[in-house]
């Protein structure tokens, strides 16, 4: 049986179910308890699990991140709530120098079963320090797994898998999607990290979209269908591990690919996926692989400017149309 719930409810359910299942799971972060975070994603959890397990911290991101790493090394399974993805810069030492490397540096003796939940996404009119999509930063660091849920369904299944994972996992939720509904099974389910999904089958071009860019790709595919172009949509779901098999299989079939992601385009996720396609499916390609990331400027505040920085279905469709028709494409 499925029902429609919001992405916010899906996250809340995943955490509640895992906290019921495993007493060592705790929640740590700013305003996670009574406030339930500014997005109200965690509402109700402190009532069920108490302040021993739903722990409000001072506004001290490096501090509570470090404490979570130590707690994870000694028997707890912390879920750290980082209120905005932009605050990743504040926790980089504890995340990338400590959590990511502990298992390796200790020769496999110690491990850090920790989930860092944070968010990404522009167009909320929040300006440059509350709008960034910084998942490429952490996907670059060996030892971290990175998940990018694209709807309530993925948000719940990936988060449950992440909480049970024995390694640090960073999950980026699109903060504009918290109220978006999707069908979610009532029964328990987990989505394994490292399995991409083909959301729409097509023959002429593959649109690879992460997080909310999956919806952008799906809308682009509908536009293209009206033009008589058959597009396939792939959601990688996780960046680390990256399910290359599904992505390459799709591109070998369609022979064209556009990678869409809300991180900055330069040196980003779109570049990485495009490079892997070019290296591993080159002889199947009929056109260059196109990257479509966020514009390489700090996210502007003014709506008139901000909306220019994020890929849109129309822009994706326009590039796909050009690719299929053999017209040179100039990316952003």
């Amino acid at each position: 049986m499925t029902r429609e719930i919001t992405l916010s409810q899906a996250v809340n359910e995943a955490i509640a179910e895992e906290m019921r299942r495993d007493e060592t799971v705790i929640l740590v972060g700013e305003d996670v308890a009574e406030a339930g975070t500014p997005f109200k994603v965690l509402s109700g959890l402190v009532e069920e699990f108490g302040t021993d397990r739903v722990i409000d911290t001072p506004i001290a991101e490096p501090g509570f991140m470090g404490i979570a790493v130590g707690a994870a090394m000694t028997g707890l399974r912390p879920i750290v709530d980082l209120m905005f993805g932009d605050f990743l810069y504040l926790v980089m030492d504890q995340l990338c120098n400590q959590a990511a490397k502990t298992h390796y540096m200790s020769g496999g003796k110690l491990n850090v079963p920790l989930v860092l939940r944070t968010n990404l996404g522009a167009t909320r009119r929040s300006a440059a320090q509350h709008s960034q999509s910084l998942h490429a930063l952490v996907a670059h660091i060996p030892g971290l797994k990175v998940a990018m849920p694209s709807s309530a369904y993925e948000a719940k299944g990936l988060l449950k898998a992440a909480i049970r994972d024995d390694n640090p996992v960073v999950i980026f939720e699109d903060k504009l999607m918290y109220q978006d509904k999707a069908p979610v099974p009532e029964e328990e389910y987990l989505l394994p990290l490292g399995e991409a999904a083909i959301l729409r089958e097509g023959l002429e071009v593959t649109l690879i979209g992460t997080s909310s860019m999956r919806q952008v790709c799906e809308k682009a595919a509908e536009i293209l269908e009206a033009d008589g172009i058959s597009a396939e949509v792939v959601d990688p779901r996780t960046l680390v591990p990256l399910d290359e098999g599904t992505i390459l299989g799709s591109v070998r079939k369609t022979s064209r690919a556009i990678v869409v992601d809300e991180g900055h385009q330069n040196f980003g996720v779109t570049a990485e996926i495009a490079a892997r396609i070019s290296e591993k499916a080159f002889y199947h390609l009929d056109a260059p692989v196109i990257r479509m990331g966020a514009m390489d400027v700090p996210v502007p505040f003014s709506p008139a400017l901000e909306d220019l920085t994020v890929p849109t279905p129309e822009a994706v469709a326009a590039n796909a149309r050009a690719l299929v028709r053999g017209v040179p494409v100039h990316a952003l």
Partner: protein, 339 residues
């Protein structure tokens, strides 16, 4: 010998032996570096032995520590073996971290050592988190966070002290003030007093002579017991001295520290010499017994070095192992190969 001294003789001699072991380890490690037999570099603990030994003598294997880039003393005092330590320093498979950590990352989970850390002050959060686990899981262990005076300039420590105090965590922050923050006298980088900084968070702070192993042990024993009763956290500032430079290659250091000062500390305040004299004066051991300890440990260290030099390096196949727990080889895994 008075009755209590006799009862404690075993502990005294254990502490003496541990300090001698640390000094012997460091002398050998330094020699390995000078002979270009050790890859990379290392930071010597010599001179500070009473701190690690006095504190770790107050702890059990269940108690946790976090250590620093100058961490060999903490590892050994917490129970590590010379042989496996040397293997790690030389990047050998049998080392504590299979050669993947080296001098600055030795972890020894079996003895509660959560690992040395090459980021100055980087383990303050980890130690505090270990204390949170103790409290949350109802375990009675204490965590000691070792760090140097240089680390007191890092913001992380203040953030986690605040939380440790708010949540009454069983953690002891042990600051080894050896007078130098890398190549800079501590006076030039510390404003005000260190104990006042802990006291600002309502954390009880103590100052102890870090060259006096018995004074260190007495303070640590009391504070560890009080931590177990839920009275933590605590802060100890231990005045000590680093005999070598910041790292083994820091030879010409006249510009920040005089040879006279170094000679004075070695002559007057050496923790091993002074404790040895005390053991003799109290009749706990004879000169011959102390000399035998020294030569026995010297032999043990030499044998451990020989062993480590001959030990095999890790196989190349290990390079992408232990990146993720539960994943044998990270490279194919990250490209989507199913486990």
């Amino acid at each position: 010998m008075p009755r209590d001294k006799k009862a404690n003789a075993e502990a005294y001699l254990r502490m003496y032996r541990q300090m001698v072991r640390i000094r012997a380890f460091e002398d050998n490690a330094n020699q390995l570096y000078l002979n270009a037999k050790m890859p990379g570099l290392t930071h010597m603990y010599s001179g500070q032995e009473a701190v690690a030994v006095g504190i770790c003598e107050a702890l059990t294997d269940e108690d946790r520590i976090t250590s620093t880039h100058r961490g060999h003393g903490h590892c050994l005092a917490k129970g590590a073996e010379l042989k496996l330590m040397f293997c790690e320093l030389l990047g050998k498979e049998e080392g504590y971290c299979r050669g993947k950590g080296g001098s600055m990352h030795i972890a020894d989970q079996a003895h509660g050592n959560l690992g040395a850390n090459a980021i100055v002050g980087g383990s303050a959060g980890i130690a505090t988190g270990a204390a949170l686990s103790a409290k949350r899981l109802g375990r009675n262990y204490v965590t000691v966070c070792f760090f140097g005076d240089g680390a007191t300039a890092q913001g992380l420590w203040y953030e986690v002290m605040n939380m440790a105090a708010l949540w009454k965590l069983p953690v002891i922050y042990a600051c080894e003030n050896n007078g130098y923050s890398e190549y800079t006298p501590t006076d030039e980088v510390v404003a005000g007093s260190l104990t006042a900084r802990a006291e600002a968070f309502a954390i009880e702070a103590h100052q102890v002579d870090g060259q006096d192993v018995l004074a260190v042990n007495k303070c640590a024993t009391e504070l560890a017991e009080r931590c177990r009763r839920g009275e933590g956290p605590f802060f100890i500032e231990l005045e000590t001295y680093r005999y070598h430079g910041h790292h083994v290659g820091d030879i010409n250091r006249d510009y920040y520290r005089s040879k006279e000062e170094e000679a004075r500390w070695k002559a007057d305040r050496d923790p091993i010499i002074n404790f040895g004299r005390w053991l003799l004066s109290e009749g706990v051991a004879t000169k011959e017994e102390l000399a035998a300890i020294g030569s026995e440990i010297g032999d043990e260290a030499a044998a451990a070095v020989e062993y480590a030099l001959a030990a095999p390096y890790p196989d190349a196949i290990e390079v992408d192992m232990h990146v993720f727990k539960g994943v044998e080889h990270a490279l194919p895994y990250m490209s989507g190969a199913r486990q």
